[in-house]
Amino acid sequence: MKKAVRKQVLLQGNEACVEGALMAGCRFYAGYPITPATEIMEIMARKMPGASGVFIQMEDEIASLGAVIGASLAGSKSMTATSGPGFSLMQEHIGYASMAEVPCVIVDVMRAGPSTGLPTQPSQSDVMQSRWGTHGDHPIIVLAPSSVYEFFELTVQAFNLSERYRTPVILLVDELVAHMREGVILPTRDSLEIEDRPHPTVPPEWYIPYADPGTGVPAMPAFGEGYRYHVTGLYHDVRGYPTVRTDEVEPLIHRLFNKISKDYDRLQWFDAFATEDAKITIIAYGCVARAALRAVQQAREKGLKVGLINLKILWPFMRRTISGILENSAKVLVPELNIGQISREVKRINQSRCEVLTLNKVDGTPIKPAEILRTLEEVYS
């Protein structure tokens, strides 16, 4: 964050998320309140009417995401926010949005689970749920902010990605980032690049709803514009009607994956800190990356060659970036507020090139810089 002429304001992470959503063009919010995500809903309730948008409190999280999908089909950029228990309820509709290719943004402010768990304390234990929570093979994009400003920034990007690829995008946030307040200087709406879903260029009678225009992302009109098509969670043909034809089923699932995977090189979002000569590199995300940043600076002062990669995208996993780290470091340390979820993925792509160490904390409190520093000193050799 740069200090500039514009005055900084004190914003909570959840407030910054709402600012980002509104600037990205979100005009529909449906949700059900739950700690520690409730502020997003409260502020949306206050701000949506003034922004000519719609806010609805639904009866539960299943209906919330259902409403969001419906609003998106009707042409509104739409979102919802929840925490673990509600996120579990949303899984079925995440799959539906993925299959029907409906852009939408889901915020999961994680609490420690399982079940109602620890509502008011930080955790990062939904990493795997965000990837594989809904059934079936499906692509998903998951972003993880580590500061209030980044929560703003990545919310804007979540909408951009969901519109660009016509896919649900999940913002996976820990309670610390969601509830803490930092001074930020928000950019103006004009300085942001805002993306919208591809719109059909043909008249309604020529429109083929799921035809691949070459980008892998079919054009999407809003319901009510005169373009008529069928939306289903079943495997469907290019006209949107159910099919079991092998020559239609397989190309569809491949297209769903390829529309995102063709851009993997564009989806390597991270901040690197002192990694060039690092013997040990920390791979972290969310609030843990903030603790790691301090630990790395303290370790450097003591002469230890350590660095940090702060992941902004968790899924699709940034294999390209992480492989480079694994090739150039003797050891990698993955501190997380779970029993080892991203570390599992790091180990999967490691192929024994590098020693992968973990630091897992699951007592409901954040990882402190001193804990990371201690581990670095123990394993540095």
Binding site: L10, T35, T120, L176, R181, D271, A272, R290
Partner: protein, 200 residues
């Protein structure tokens, strides 16, 4: 994205924790303090920790103030602890910096196992000004003579921004009473943090 090189040594940061029970306005106090930091164009980070209940239970609010960008947004070693209950005092002492200052509410906290400490009757001050809930704002007043990064005017401005105007006058009275109290006691502390003088 960017690859930053290691630059400066440790950034000078000032860490304050306000601790008490749920319902005492602990978190609001932290927000007002952080906003005072914004008024002074500092880098600030405010965070909190509380249980699932709305009243009672332990509640803490932390503010980190710095002239440079803040890496870790929570406290590492507290420069100052303001404790409004006995449990809050006992539980948070292990997080103190060695020469940190502990300020407690003299009515609620009888035992302070810390040398560099002040005891101020926040509850009594709040009752005297006729606004029992001003205890959190009184607590903010007591930090002004000791925190080198925050001045009275910035804090008053931040408080005025957050409180309803009908309650403001009583709260500011409590604020100044606690501030004066703290200033008088400051002389008795051997190694108090700042030498700056403040206009009351």
């Amino acid at each position: 994205m960017n690859n930053t090189k290691v630059s400066s040594v440790k950034s000078p940061r000032y860490e304050i924790r306000i601790a008490g029970a749920g319902g005492q306005g602990i978190i609001l106090a932290g927000i007002m303090l952080a906003e005072a930091g914004i008024v002074q164009d500092l880098y600030v980070a405010q965070s909190q920790s509380y249980g699932p209940e709305t009243r009672g239970g332990n509640s803490i609010s932390e503010v980190v103030l710095s002239n440079t960008e803040i890496d870790f947004p929570q406290s590492t070693e507290l420069d100052m602890l303001i404790a409004l209950t006995q449990v809050a005092c006992d539980r948070n002492l292990p997080d103190m910096k060695e020469d940190g200052l502990v300020i407690v509410d003299s009515e609620a906290v009888q035992r302070v196992l810390w040398d560099k400490s002040l005891s101020i009757p926040f509850g009594e001050i709040a009752r005297k000004v006729g606004e029992e809930r001003a205890i959190n704002v009184a607590a903010l007043g007591s930090l002004v003579p000791f925190c080198p990064l925050i001045d009275r005017q910035a804090l008053v401005k931040a408080i005025a921004n957050r409180l309803p105007s009908a309650k403001l006058e009583a709260n500011l009275q409590a604020f100044d009473k606690a501030l004066n109290f703290a200033r008088r006691l400051k002389g008795r502390l051997k190694s108090a943090g700042t030498t700056e003088e403040f206009e009351i």
